[in-house]
Amino acid sequence: MPIEIPLDKWPGAVRTVTLGATAAEGGTRTKTVTVGGEKAMPFLHFESEMPYPPVIAVEIRDRRPDDWSPLLYKAWGEAIEDPAAWAKAAEEAGAELIQLTISLTDSNGVTTTPQAAVAATKAVLEATGLPLLVFGPGQAEVDNDLLVAVAEAAKGERLVLGICEDKNYRTIVATALANGHLVTARTPMDVNLAKQLNILINDMGFPMERVLMDPTTGALGYGIEYGFSAMERLRLAALQGDSMTQLPMIVTPGFEAWKAKEAKVGEGVPAAWGDWEQRAIHWETLTTITLLESGADIVVLRHPESVRRVRATVLDLMGVPQTA
């Protein structure tokens, strides 16, 4: 019998945002990455073409992190000691973006200086041609000091500077505006809070084509359902035409999943948890696929095997089924 598939007719679309700038565009990246542009819920090719695939960023640090899971030290080996080597290794593992987080202190506990943050950023920019996201350590004053210096030193690169939050966004937005960068705006799993912060950033005269939003997520088992539904609601609002939600979404399943005990710890856990390494990778990849299904445009991962699996998954999801 003939079947008419109900199609949603959406008036709105997600903005497109381009990360990175090539030499011709005033930067040094060998290529740029564009995300967004969706006119339907994720991967529903029968309803609308999905112009850009979701992309994978790999999180690296300016120095060896103190408290990561031993599995991640094992996976990256010596590269983890040096941000440039780490960025290269991440690119080889399949990263399409590099997300550099500047640590709060150096390995001796001394607060990271702006000079050191700039040096790390430049080293990564030289080591890879991929567009770069630079996040501060997450303490307002330090973030502002470090990110302003990084933004000025990398003027024109169209970095993504992060993380803007409701209590601290003005300085980061101002320096991004002055130096031709992008920002990412993070709010805690709530549609209205996300919208509110986007409005505040917009009110500063910052172009919305240079904003990513991070609705935050919980890892699998640690509140992922809240992130999942907040993202579905944000994306539906965007498609319904709510301009201040029409931003590509970035989420950090790597950070969230590897914080969970299931991924981080291998000893003193129930036998029913099974093999540690595979469990940890499942934790990261299952968190990621769930967020991709709810509208993530950029996923920031940590383990190279997760990168491989997520790449294969995205490639499949972007294929238009013959029978659809």
């Binding site: 019998m1 079947i3 598939i5 991967f43 914080k259 099974g274 595979q278 294969a312 089924p321």
Partner: protein, 446 residues
């Protein structure tokens, strides 16, 4: 398709007799449309109207229940596309597939391990739901024996897989009296399979090449008197699986399209790679499968999948609460600090996860704040000094520790004075506002 209040009103006696408890028939009709009352409250509604209303009230996706001795797995009865619109109701059944061509010991081992698997997540024991036995040998006797082997190793519900009615009949003999799922009926064998399903009171999976063919087939099978159906639309990788799952869910929920108003069965194992199998199963959980058949059983992949299923099928309108009590994090000793927070699951997880991740030992007192977060509960008077003191006393925290030092969330710093009065033996410390700052606070200030 659900009727509107006005449409329902037309089917009522329109006498405004008030015996239903509402002032007018229209008011009653509106309540019926909102599913807030039962039609049986009206003593005068005609049989004809009853039938019409019952048809309109039937769920857009039929509830399918597989049963064995002591176990039941239900799928279907879903009414929304997005969980935030209401909730997802029946968690997809997770089944592990065994092949009749495997040596008996291999089947026994796989089934025994999966059958006894149990993992605790926030106080809930999670398990797999059943097993699928697939005929690869092509031999009825071998298949019947395999079904018996699996049935001996586990009492959980079964899915029997063969396209041959002769083989299927042999398998069904081994589990007479149960309600398994027969997989399945296709364009060639559907009459014989429908007869078997009818004869054994089994549910029947219908296998279609595309949605139109699938809908034609379910109508034919239904006309033969088999109504408990499960759909296999095909599509064994991510994109086709998502497309079919979404299209079928939309047709049933939005259009009440009865020929496809049944749960969908997914076979993520067909993708081959065990890592991608788990991800494809995760997609099937979020995007509309009713039954999921896995080929790999490993605790490290089943545990996250069962947790994901639990998460996605949590009712968003009723935030899950954790049991109030004292939680031990990183094996605390009597001298380690005591932290207090509320029993809203996200609040608990944020705090527990940060402390756990830091590696620092602590006693976490979870007070009964009726499932609200710290600030909300404080504003609502559900997380005040009295309640906190009651938790500390009620859970006998003083007996577990030598150092009576209680850390309260920074957001309720205002409570510290009152708490000192309520708990005179205790030193009250004000912690950070956000859980993420707890490890630093614990390292520096405690």
């Amino acid at each position: 398709m659900a009727l509107t209040g006005i449409q329902i009103y037309k089917l009522l006696p329109q006498t405004n007799c008030k015996e239903c408890g509402f002032p007018t028939c229209l008011a009653f009709a509106m309540k019926l449309a909102a599913k807030q009352v039962e039609l049986s409250a009206c003593p005068y509604v005609s049989e004809e109207s009853k039938a019409q209303l019952a048809e309109s009230a039937a769920p857009p996706i039929r509830l399918i229940s597989l049963k064995s001795d002591g176990f039941e797995v239900k799928a279907g009865n879903e009414i929304v596309l997005y969980r935030h619109e209401k909730t997802f109701y029946n968690k997809p059944g997770v089944f592990i597939r065994v092949l009749d061509s495997d040596p008996v010991e291999v089947m026994q081992g796989k089934v025994a391990a999966a059958n006894s698997f149990k993992v605790n997540y926030v106080g809930i024991d999670l398990t797999v739901d059943g097993f699928a036995v697939a005929s690869v040998s092509g031999d009825p006797g071998v298949f019947a024996n395999a079904v018996s082997v699996v049935r001996k190793a586990s009492q959980r519900p079964l899915i029997l897989m063969s396209r041959s009615s002769e083989i299927m009949a042999a398998g069904l003999q081994s589990i007479d009296g149960e309600t398994p799922l027969i997989y399945g009926a296709d364009v060639d064998n559907w009459e014989a399979m429908a007869d078997l399903a009818k004869g054994h009171n089994a549910a029947l999976a219908v296998i279609g090449g595309d949605l139109e063919g699938l809908a034609d087939l379910t109508e034919k099978v239904k006309a033969k008197g088999v109504e408990d159906l499960v759909l296999d639309p095909g599509g064994r990788t991510f994109s086709p699986g998502l497309t079919y799952g979404t299209q079928i869910r939309r047709l049933s929920v939005k259009k009440n399209f009865r020929p496809l108003g049944y749960p969908v069965i997914a076979f993520p194992g067909d993708i081959g790679d065990a890592g991608l199998e788990a991800m494809l199963a995760a997609q099937a959980i979020a995007k509309y499968a009713g039954f999921i058949v896995l080929d790999h059983f490993t605790p490290e992949s089943i545990y996250p999948l069962l947790v994901l299923r639990q998460n996605i099928y949590t009712d968003p309108q009723k935030p899950i609460q954790v049991q109030p009590g004292v939680y031990e994090i990183n094996n605390p000793k009597p001298e380690d600090p005591v932290l207090v927070t509320t029993n809203f699951s996200i609040t608990y997880f944020s705090v527990a996860n940060e402390v756990e991740g830091s590696g620092l030992p602590a006693w976490l007192v979870v007070a009964d704040a009726e499932g609200m977060s710290v600030l909300t509960a404080w504003a609502a008077g559900k997380f005040d000094s009295e309640r906190i003191a009651k938790s500390v006393k009620g859970f006998n925290v003083a007996e577990k520790v030598t150092k009576k030092r209680l850390v309260i969330p920074g957001h309720v710093a205002v409570l510290s004075g009152e708490l000192e009065e309520e708990l005179p033996d205790w030193e009250i410390r004000v912690g950070p506002r956000e859980a993420v700052d707890l490890p630093a606070f614990m390292k520096q200030a405690l």
